[in-house]
Symmetry: C2
Subunit: 389 residues, 2 copies
């Protein structure tokens, strides 16, 4: 019998249906791409606005494989897909972009640090933690305080602890369940400034980088993204060059955010995310091609789009749920009255600390642009914008 | 029993699910608006990309009323909704934006011409046609050729005929079914240039106008939109002022396109569309607020957004299905390689003459921007871009 090559029903399947998938879906509409989403729940942000949604857990290899079987390419809204599911997809010859070996760099911090150090990339001094004694030994070289980080599953400040002394280590390790005890210890970097670079790379090797952004984190959660970052040309070029080198070294397909600590004239790699990222939301209005369209172009192996900044200044402020549990929708008309402010709501219910949306302001004067972005955020969340003051 | 005020399930219901609804849905995502679409078919452009879709005919008052009952506001993707359905919605106290009396101006060309003439708006010389004799009488005053137009249902060049002599009238009237015989006759305007203005108006009376565009029609179908239009300041202001006056006179809610013939120093009203319109697709990339977001803001009675042009030149070219019935998707990677070109596909199957999508190019030099837009269109449709040459 002749083998018939079937066209897949969907061009791209996305594992995860949060705000990143929601904004990818928005970018897929004009391109005419047929997307399919693998959601945890029918009320995930992207599941609310897209017709082709399967509900399931990324921990279930059968469900993930059934979902992927109708998709030409599979990509990701988050990294929290266990190796059992990824291995099943590999057995089925699913086209994963990025692939599992690339994902591992974002999933496993210990692996990333060890490989990056081998490759000569600048990472903070680190050590592997098997016991309290390992931390004490590391502290002899690097002093206190220290950062303890889980290798797997940390995000938005979760999975990272500032450790002041040996007692803190004992208390922390005792409090963690055994499966989160694969940890690394790092020198606590006195943060002068945090920056991030978005880079896109296609399977055929085309690379495009976006302007360097400055990020403001509070309690490990990103609150504000400012473009352009206040950096020397040398620092900026260094960050962009490193992002490109990492993209090649890990065989990236799609977009990746690389977050750096600025340390004097050099930069140190903090984290990477091999997918669209909060630090790139500003590209929707700020750049010719948004990170979401770029990710789709890259995973389809289509030409990458221009990444030039369209405005002198672009500022994004995240809308975090406040203690008031206020729905940002209530303040929308008032926020939309502010000139040059674009509001993005994710369709999620309000919970304290949850990312409910973001606003992006554009303009020519940085103080003015920041003020408008924070004013809109304050209206939408009902929380005072202390950070900006 | 106490009456409980129920929140509607959907913020906005859209009657029709073509490309205008598709682009409205895209604009609704960041605003967190809950949309519901009333589609003729499950493969309508917007029905392919939105989860909340009812299938039905706008000619069926029961189906339209059932659809509208769960929507806070009902708006339109097209004007082809008969009065029987609109009257049922009025009986049910549905909030229609625009309302039926506004829609009538777009639905009924005879009514529009008569009312606009009464209001002193500049319309071409016209007459009502009941018989061949009416046309002959009109021709005594205005000469041949003449334009014959159906009052209802014409679009994209359909429902408009150029008439050279009395024999043409007899032949045409005999060929039409009786329900399309409510016609008007107009002087054939020697077209120097066609322009259009998009205006938005909210129920609370806020008005915003967009830059004047120049449109290029071939066989009555819009092929290209160029911004800025080559006009004197006086002509441009006249068109913008008239668009605002018409918006107020017809009590517009939402956006409206007013198409004009340029005739010496004055402008003559050609057509109006009380909804987002092809001549406004350029606003997606070209202006701070797209016509689609603006329409949603207006019907929600939210503040209107800024309408400023973001680039020196913006050119949109429609992708019309060619005799080759080629799907534009095949050329997408090659078209995306052209700098500063944004592609919008509508998800429709290719048929000769059908609008399958559009491309918008932006830049600083008009010749360069036009060349890039037409080059992308040629790649996507496989049809030579003779028009631009």
């Amino acid at each position: 019998m002749e083998r018939v090559e079937m066209q897949p029903t969907y061009d791209v399947g996305i594992i995860g249906a949060g705000q990143l998938a929601r904004m990818m879906a928005q970018a897929a509409i004009p391109l005419g791409l047929r997307l399919r989403l693998f959601a945890q729940s029918a009320i995930d942000g992207a599941a609310l606005i897209w017709p082709d949604v399967e509900i399931g857990s990324p921990d279930d290899p059968d469900a993930v494989a059934a979902f992927a079987s109708e998709c030409g390419i599979v990509t990701f809204d988050h990294e929290l897909v266990p190796s059992t599911s990824l291995e099943r997809l590999m057995q089925n010859n699913t086209t994963l972009r990025p692939g599992p070996s690339t994902l591992a760099f974002a999933q496993d911090k210990r692996w990333q640090r060890e490989r990056f150090a081998d490759l000569g990339f600048p990472v903070p001094p680190f050590g592997v933690v098997k016991s309290v004694q390992d931390v004490a030994t590391f502290a002899i070289d690097w002093g206190w305080p220290l950062a303890l980080k889980t290798s797997y599953g940390g995000y938005d400040g979760r999975g990272v602890w500032r450790i002041e002394n040996p007692n803190d280590v004992t208390t922390l390790l005792a409090s963690l369940s055994s499966n989160t005890r694969d940890m690394i210890v790092e020198r606590w970097i006195p943060i002068e400034r945090e920056i991030a670079v978005m880079v896109a790379r296609s399977p055929s090797g085309q690379i495009a980088t976006y302007p360097v952004v400055q990020t403001l984190q509070v309690d490990g959660i990103c609150r504000e993204i400012v473009v352009p970052a206040a950096l020397s040309v040398a620092q900026s070029n260094r960050a962009i060059d490193l992002a490109c080198e990492i993209a090649k070294a890990i065989d990236l397909t799609g977009v990746m955010a690389v977050e750096f600590f600025v340390a004097g004239d050099d930069v140190l790699i903090n984290e990477i995310a091999t997918r669209p990222h909060n630090s790139g939301h500003y590209t929707i209005e700020g750049c010719t091609t948004s990170q979401f369209e770029q990710h789709l172009r890259a995973v389809m192996d289509w030409p990458l789009g221009a990444t030039d900044l369209r405005f002198a200044c672009v500022v994004t402020v995240n809308l975090l749920g406040g203690s008031n549990a206020r729905e940002p929708r209530a303040g929308l008309p008032k926020a939309l009255a502010i000139a040059g402010v674009h509001v993005h709501l994710y369709g999620k219910g309000a919970r304290p600390g949850r990312k409910l949306g973001h606003v992006t302001a554009v303009g020519t004067d940085l103080n003015d642009v920041r003020e408008r972005a924070w004013r809109a955020a304050e209206i939408l969340t009902g929380e005072p914008a202390e950070v900006a003051k």
